[in-house]
Symmetry: C2
Subunit: 215 residues, 2 copies
Amino acid sequence: MKIGILGTGIVGQTIGSKLIHLGNDVMLGSRMPNNEKAIEWTKQNGSKASHGTFAQAAAFGNILFNCTSGAVSLDALNLAGKENLNGKILIDVANPLDFSKGMPPSLTVCNTDSLGEQIQKSFPEVKVVKALNTMNCKLMVDPSALDEDHDVFMCGNNSEAKSEVAAMLKEWFGWKTVIDLGDITAARGTEMILPLWLRLMGVLQTPNFNFKIVR
Amino acid sequence: MKIGILGTGIVGQTIGSKLIHLGNDVMLGSRMPNNEKAIEWTKQNGSKASHGTFAQAAAFGNILFNCTSGAVSLDALNLAGKENLNGKILIDVANPLDFSKGMPPSLTVCNTDSLGEQIQKSFPEVKVVKALNTMNCKLMVDPSALDEDHDVFMCGNNSEAKSEVAAMLKEWFGWKTVIDLGDITAARGTEMILPLWLRLMGVLQTPNFNFKIVR
């Protein structure tokens, strides 16, 4: 499969490398075509890896991941362009963290709105599925790194898109439990656990943990 | 031990009944001394149960629980009075849910502030410990109702108070893992998982679930 990843940070790189390892073709997209991180990542990941602008990566992928910083996600998607995004599944992994006021970050949007909703509203013809934004990127692509099962949350307005994403999360990354929280407004809930996640990372002194819903 | 519980809803009643069952004396406090729910609860819980105003319940308890609705917690605590609260541990179970705009509720405060912080700021001589606000009240007092272990979060500025509360949560209710998230600003994190909790309750069709941090 051809996959476009918007964002060249550790999240985009980690997901991209895993998807290449699984046999997919992946293009990392960034603001500038000569992004150094993207060039280096492409070198390290062989012939199935490529990089380009946000628009090029969006045009390349049949499935897209938003791995940009939440504060600039809408900018990045505008640069990617509706003509390259419309009709496609966009797995939104971003969190609207605001680091401008120091640590710990707050959220740029929450409570009565969310980044996931803002993206869906700005791009109504994109099938936005919010997922994977509640754990470290190593666990996103390798949940078995923890000894015990744990959960990934998913939400979005398009049921078929969610079914596809759930199947991909299981097949690609090995997730056992994908909890469908309903429509995209549930992104408020998953984005709003970031403050707790950040506290836990500090207390546990590791990012290698995740939430499990015990029932 | 003598325990004062502010609030006569299902949370206060459930915690109160459990504490009486464990041999403590419990007074439920409410705005009006003739609160019908409190009168009925007192009848059902025998000689160790009593009820009164917020001020009476606060004066009665050596340890206090805030089980009022988050939107009115500061009012209730003002009615309880600093003279009855100061120097005591107040376990803050409340969540600042705003039902005024319909379902699902939003939060009256979040992101850069929290109810826990507002209470601590308004009552600097009270040892506020935020705890138990992230699960259904049946699980608060009986975590073993789920087959698998799960977690309760705790935060507050006073380390000794937190040690006492952690010991009580274990001894009284049977909690195995009490995760200390640090100072009271961590209340932002635990209060902000309510939107996710509410979504999960809808999806799972039960309030009988809780978070476990898998590491």
